[in-house]
Amino acid sequence: MGGGAAGMSMIRAGVRQTMAWLHGWAGLFLGWVLFVMCLAGTLSVFKPEIGRWMRPEATARADAVPALVAATEWLRHDAAKSHGWYLTAPDARMNTVDATYDPGTGWVVRALDPATGRPVARETIGGEFFYRLHFELQLPYPWGRLLASAAAMAMLVALITGIIAHRRIFRDFFTFRPAKGQRSWLDGHNALGVLSLPFHLMITFTGLVTLASLTMPWGIVANYGQDMATMFQEFTPGSVDREETHRAAPLAPVAPMLAEAVRRFGGAPIGRVSVNHPGDSSSTVTVFRSDAGQLAYAPGEISFDGATGRVLADWTEQRPALKAYGVVYGLHMGRFAPGLMRWLYFLGGTMLTLAIASGLVLWIAKRREKAPLSLGNRIVERLNAGVIAGTPVAFMAYFWANRLLPLGLAGRADAEVSAALWTGAAALAAGLALPPRLSWPVLLGAGALACAGAPLLDDGVALFLDAVARGDGAIVGGDLMMLASALLLGGCARLTLRRKQERRPARAPLMERAA
């Protein structure tokens, strides 16, 4: 019996060691991609508010129906030849109409003024940058999504192996021992991972499911082959898209269609509107119900004949499998989340981002205490500095570009994104080129200065005071968040500087221990 118990104990210890090994490697593999994904995803929680911060001139407000009517009127004249107009209605969080259309120069994403329907003065994609970066990583389709999916799978493996490897999951729930080197990093990593574990599991699993049609397409291929149009039609029967006839037919007034849609939705607000082939006799207008008030994503839609305004299809999703998928998708997107819950989503995302960062740093801290770092680990150490401290600098470059680029600049929205990507590349290069004792404080310090400076740019103080007077929480909150981030990054930069000064004397006891 005793031998059996000892054997089981050895097996358990072996399993834990294996899981700990897998946890480490799964976290390191694509860990930097995961860090960028998680930080961008966390910021996406406030996508509409970021959009409002980045368009301070757009202060007009209107209800969804008149704003959508104004937008379609403008698009009717200025994007008449576009194959489609895809509009997101304004709501309590976002005052503009987000529109995707082709003005004749290729597809663009623009914010349209809710009163005039015209694009707002400051051309930017706003929070959409972080949202897209989160799962497309600025890479062409499907490579970005595939990479994001692989990273999410690595994250799920890291989470599950972390739980199995962790012997004292509850005991470490409240434990943090500061200023103890590797022990502190381990405590911090454990606390960040364990305190918010249900959220981490939920967001990783639901994230994987959102990309499942790409990574596990076999069920779709078996049923539909290459005919994706039929699949989408069956998934959203209320969304009608007909073959273009190339016979001109003016779009019927949109306002009655929207009013009818609201009536059929039982008074629920409109979330999105798609106009396919506007100006063609085949045109259709599909109105989607807002999913802001419920967990499930895309609960129903109604399609109208664009030329006559007649109802073509009216669908409310009731199929259990698709409702379940909608809930899983909706949980990841978090669009249903009201005020407090939105902040809890943000907190959960921040904790996951920090858990990834602390895990990457811990990888090096552990190995540095045992022996001099190998070449591979020295590269990991430098990549850590370049990515973890460099990504906030890159993101802040996006906000700086938003405030500094001339309003009339052609391709302004793309220039903002380029500013972020080139700054990120420069930060990564600095992380790789400089020794970590320099790169950490330099990059963290640059991030702190960038955060502190952004609210002051382009007459920022006047904008802030005006926003306070108008009660515009997006601009006030955005500025305050940037100042808080400046303090946090500045504090981290100070800590890394102090650690550099303390590192030499700290080595003596270790050497004594080794002797």
Partner: protein
């Protein structure tokens, strides 16, 4: 939701106080420390019940409850690291809030 949130804080406080490493929360009072884990688990279940049975829709309440765990857990963790007094004061406030919310 206030009663559920306050009870959740008290539950986490109890679970932490029951751990030998964190006995500072009850300042070494052995009977309290012995009783704390059981009380912690019971309060945890009670707080979940209170959240789900509240006025709002239960899926939203469940999400909020899950989201509040790291907030209160983090508060206790920081308090244990930098001075247990804040966690003790917060526990007193939580008792008042829980009673007020339940009344």
């Amino acid at each position: 939701m206030m009663a559920a949130a306050a009870t959740l804080y008290l539950a986490l406080f109890g679970l932490a106080a029951g751990m030998p490493r964190h006995a500072a929360l009850v300042e070494g009072r052995a009977p309290l420390a012995r009783f704390a884990p059981v009380a912690g688990w019971l309060l945890l279940a009670l707080s979940l019940l209170l959240a789900m049975a509240g006025e709002g829709r239960w899926p939203f309440a469940l999400m909020e409850w899950i989201g509040l765990v790291p907030v209160f857990g983090g508060l206790i963790l920081f308090s244990l690291t930098y001075g247990a007094r804040a966690a003790q004061l917060a526990a007193l406030v939580a008792i008042v809030c829980a009673v007020d919310g339940l009344a």
